[in-house]
């Protein structure tokens, strides 16, 4: 073995980390090489110096303050769930980007729905869709909803049989619905509408089936809550649709 190879192996030989065969080869070389013996001595002294200095420094390092230790243990145990591995906070760690992204997306959707889509959303309900579909098919309703009188009773739809997609009909905007109310009421052609009370959401289809219905906006709840649970993670997302809260979170 040459000195160059021996000096490399000495770095591991010094702590007994060489395999037996290599160790024997190094020992054979050391018997005849004073330079490598000197090198081995230097390595040993260096490592011993580090260990000795570490030992001395360690004695000067600050010990754990018992009060701080107690606080830490209390924080760890309280901050986590009672049983390790069932941590709730861990679900929302940024090391689980999918869950974090889902949570953020959920919040954005809540804001978006509550501000922009709530009116459309409620017009998609079967009762509202039914009114619109009926009026369009009958051809008796103007976009402003001045007259609502189907040609035949069979043109009416019930929620169960309604098949017209909301995309296939032009949905009246809230402004149109608002316009429809004062125009339809004075109409003398719809006698029932004058005396009939404003139908509830569930009664819309029945009212439409009579062939004479006043086009009223659906009774829209002020606030609706929906929740769903992600099956993989168990995270529950809660959507709150409040038509009185705008995008900035300010109540109208």
């Amino acid at each position: 073995m040459k000195c160059e190879a021996a000096s490399r192996k000495l770095l591991l030989y010094v702590s007994g980390d060489l395999d037996r065969r290599s160790a024997r080869a190094v020992e054979e070389h050391l018997k005849h090489c004073p330079v490598c013996r000197q090198e081995l001595r230097l390595i040993k002294e260096s490592l011993a110096a580090v260990r000795q200095a570490d030992l001395e420094e360690s004695q000067k390092l600050p010990e754990w303050d018992e009060e701080r230790w107690a606080d830490l243990m209390s924080t760890i145990v309280r901050g986590e769930s009672r049983v390790p591995g069932k941590s709730i906070s861990g679900l929302f760690s940024w090391k689980k980007p999918a869950l974090a992204a889902a949570a953020v997306a959920g919040l954005i959707l809540v804001s978006f729905f509550s501000y922009h889509l709530i009116d459309r959303f409620w017009l998609h309900t079967p009762s509202n869709k039914d009114i619109v579909a009926t009026g369009q098919q009958a051809g008796k309703i103007s976009p402003a909803g001045q007259e609502l009188k189907p040609e035949t009773p069979t043109a009416t739809r019930t929620p169960d049989t309604a098949s017209i997609s909301p995309r296939q009909v032009e949905l009246p905007t809230p402004s149109r619905l608002e316009e429809a109310k004062p125009r339809a009421r004075p109409s003398e052609k719809i006698a029932e509408a004058k005396t009939a009370p404003v139908p509830e959401a569930g009664e819309k289809a029945g009212a439409a089936s009579t062939g004479s219905s006043e086009l009223q906006p659906a009774s829209r709840p002020e606030r609706v809550e929906m929740s769903f649970i992600l099956p993989e993670s168990g995270v529950q997302v809660l959507w709150i649709l409040d038509r009185n809260i705008n995008l900035e979170g300010v109540k109208k």
Binding site: M73, P84, G90
Partner: protein, 195 residues
């Protein structure tokens, strides 16, 4: 892992959280020491130790009870220290470069030895952190675990999740640097107090 530790782990997992303190107390000093040697900063070491204990509690249910509990704690701490090195490197790349240049300039002429005040010039103390600062993060981890904490090559490889060959290579490199630093200081007599 001895029977007592196994029993404590079982208690913690069954909901007896106070048993956790009894489980980790014997290792709190060695954990702090390890983190200090890996970072060279006591505040960071304290943070890493606290985070290690938190992770230990959180993931105790994943702990393989056939493994040495201390080595498992060391593994968590080593990972956190590695993350700390990476974060520090990314955040302060430019600043680090400047500091490293300053550090290298200062320490190329100075020493890794401290002279305690009021003592003789010949009575010098080796600054371990100054030595370790000359190593790469990986070399530093390997050297601290093997030569300071006394883990075997195999244990070190397990803690660092690497191969024994990689540990041997990094250990050789680290020891060569340490040997050069210390023998170079002695040889050329460039010993100066840092304080």
């Amino acid at each position: 892992m001895d029977e007592r530790e196994k029993e404590l782990v079982r208690k913690v997992l069954s909901g007896e959280s106070p048993a956790f303190e009894e489980l980790v107390r014997p290792y709190r000093t060695s954990l702090l020491h390890l983190a200090y040697r890996m970072t060279g900063n006591m505040e960071e070491a304290m943070d890493i130790t606290q985070e290690t204990l938190l992770k230990c509690f959180r993931y105790l249910h994943q702990y393989d009870r056939t493994r040495n509990f201390r080595n498992w704690l060391f593994q968590i701490a080593a990972n956190l220290a590695r993350d700390w090195h990476r974060k520090r490197k990314q955040e302060n790349r430019l600043e680090m470069d400047l500091r490293q240049k300053d550090f290298d300039r200062d320490h190329s002429e100075e020493t890794v030895f401290n002279q305690p005040s009021g003592e003789k010039t010949s009575d010098l103390q080796l600054d371990v952190n100054a030595c370790l600062a000359k190593l790469s993060p990986r070399e530093r981890q390997v050297f601290v675990l093997r030569d300071v904490e006394g883990l075997s090559i195999k244990e070190t490889a397990t803690v660092l999740k690497t191969s024994s060959l990689s540990v041997r290579v990094n250990l050789s490199s680290a020891r060569r640097k340490i040997r050069d630093i210390i023998s170079g200081q002695n040889k050329y007599g460039r010993v100066r107090s840092q304080k």
